[in-house]
């Protein structure tokens, strides 16, 4: 839930300067994530790349996508990306804004959200997420922000999408702390606990997409982004990562961003940067 970082932005900050056919790895991540949303989804949105992906989808192929932010804004339609989950723009464009207890009790716990869209500091091979601490909680190497809404977004939304920049320190064999449950430490604990929601069905990085093996729940690379090699993904992953074609499936190639996707995303970022720079 911290910022999405610079990787998602083109180096030139004016929306008109990009060259069609060129894009950053961060843009590819956001665009690939945006494509995973169904047009009628009700989506609980984290800040950063999740918010960019959801709003890109809403502004392109899924105009009826319903976005919920944990600040209580139902069906928000922001014109710029909010810096926080509580920017005024969200309340102004929402169908309604409810209290935070109502948001978590009636809307999330009540089962009215289809997709939870989360970021992560660490993600392990079974889709468990850490946004709390690197090292021990009692004696942290790096203290991260913590759960916010994520713990229950992960267990109570119908399905979960995760976006994360690919690196061996981010995609790890086992998380230091389970802030948000994926499929559990051995891939079996989610089902064993009787949780009926589907969990992390899709992980989108800046290199590839991963989906859980239907039996073991281990995350498996099912598509490489344009220009990315298997070796790059292996090198950037903290576990001995499997690919779909290792398992009898097909390893796909992510479609390149369309001009329209890039244009809308860059305009969105340009409007956002202008808005947050202060007036």
């Amino acid at each position: 839930m911290s910022g999405e970082g610079g990787a998602d932005r083109p180096t030139g900050d004016a929306a008109g300067e990009w060259t069609p056919g060129e894009w950053t790895a961060g843009e590819m991540m956001t665009i690939a994530a945006s494509r995973a949303l169904d047009p009628d989804d009700v989506c609980f949105v984290g800040i950063g790349a999740p918010s960019a992906a959801c709003n890109l989808a809403r502004l392109t192929r899924a105009p009826h996508l319903t976005l919920i932010y944990e600040s209580g804004t139902l069906a928000a339609r922001p014109d710029v990306l909010p810096l926080s989950i509580g920017d005024g723009e969200l309340a102004e464009t929402a169908v309604a804004t409810v209290s935070v207890p109502e948001m978590f009790r009636y809307w999330l716990q009540g089962g009215h959200v289809d997709v939870g869209f989360l970021g992560a500091a660490q993600l392990d091979r079974f889709g468990n997420i850490n946004t709390t601490v690197i090292g021990d909680w009692d004696d942290p190497k790096v203290r991260l922000p913590g759960s916010g809404g994520a713990s229950e977004i992960a267990s109570q939304c119908g399905r979960v999408f995760v976006t994360i920049a690919h690196s061996p320190r981010a995609l790890v064999d086992a998380v230091d702390f389970t802030t948000s449950l994926g499929f559990g430490p051995t891939g079996t604990e989610r089902t064993a606990a009787g949780i009926t929601t589907k969990g992390p069905v899709l992980v989108v990085t800046d290199l590839c997409t991963l989906r859980p093996d239907p039996d073991t729940h281990e995350l498996v690379v099912d598509a490489l982004h344009p220009g990315v090699t298997r070796e790059e993904v292996v090198a950037a992953t903290g576990w001995d990562v499997a690919f779909a074609d290792d398992r009898g499936g097909e390893l796909a190639r992510t479609a390149a961003p369309t001009e329209r996707e890039l244009e809308v995303l860059r305009h969105l970022h340009a409007r956002t940067e202008q808005a947050h720079a202060g007036g």
């Binding site: 839930m1 911290s2 910022g3 800040i47 950063g48 944990e70 600040s71 209580g72 804004t73 909010p82 810096l83 926080s84 989950i85 509580g86 920017d87 005024g88 969200l90 309340a91 804004t97 409810v98 209290s99 935070v100 207890p101 948001m103 978590f104 009790r105 999330l108 716990q109 709390t132 909680w137 009692d138 942290p140 190497k141 790096v142 203290r143 991260l144 922000p145 913590g146 759960s147 916010g148 809404g149 994520a150 713990s151 229950e152 267990s155 109570q156 702390f177 389970t178 802030t179 948000s180 449950l181 559990g184 604990e189 989610r190 606990a193 949780i195 808005a275 947050h276 720079a277 202060g278």
Partner: protein, 271 residues
Amino acid sequence: MATFPTLHDAVADAVHDGDTVALEGFTHLIPFAAGHEVIRQGRRDLTLIRMTPDLLYDQMIGMGCARRLVFSWGGNPGVGSLRRFRDAVEHGWPHELHLEEHAHAAMASAWEAGAAGLPMALLRAYQGTSLPDVNNRIGSVTCPFTGEELTAVPALRPDVGIVHAQRADRDGNVLVEGIIGVQKEVVLASRRSIVTVEEIVDDLAAPSLNSCVIPGWTIDAIVATPNGAHPSYAHGYYDRDNAFYMAWDEIASDRERFLAWMDDHVMAVSA
């Protein structure tokens, strides 16, 4: 019944060393001016409660007000870390800070339960996470009808609750509009309460019969504090100062730089 003291007097009357204090506002309507007054009055050993500590608690922690923090998301929204919070947790500066860490769902329900006069909140939460391993205030009860094990957390009932809001009328009724967060719950759940407002008006002009209004008889002190939520915001009055939230990252990155900034912008200001 609400009184209308100065900010100095309201804080001096309500907040004492060692108190459990919540200054809430979910991104919106964060009572910065009141928190700065707590810092100026030199309060110590506070247990601070906030779902999102935000820059205000970064400042209060960095200035040594807090002994304990009850929270559920400790970042600078959209920017990254709270560097004073991290310095306290990672390096014990200016002194050790004990954490009671939750997720939003449990803390939101704990506010609901506090407002509802219950000792505990009931919800479905934390399944399969590590949080119960580090927080012994996460318990469970068994539903007598279904046998399901549900999560229990203690209700939040602080000594003092402080929130900001748009406006109050002269009977002390307060209008909260926009992202209402847990503002009403905090006032109802707290033994003593302070509400700072942008203005005090003759007619509250609540836009709906069902607007979020906190009636005057539930509030102890109301203080007209224009701009009192800055750099957070007051919907309809001024926008969130996102540029300042981004700038804070550098101000707070260095202990001396932080202290100098607080001296200039908080300690040297009068309420």
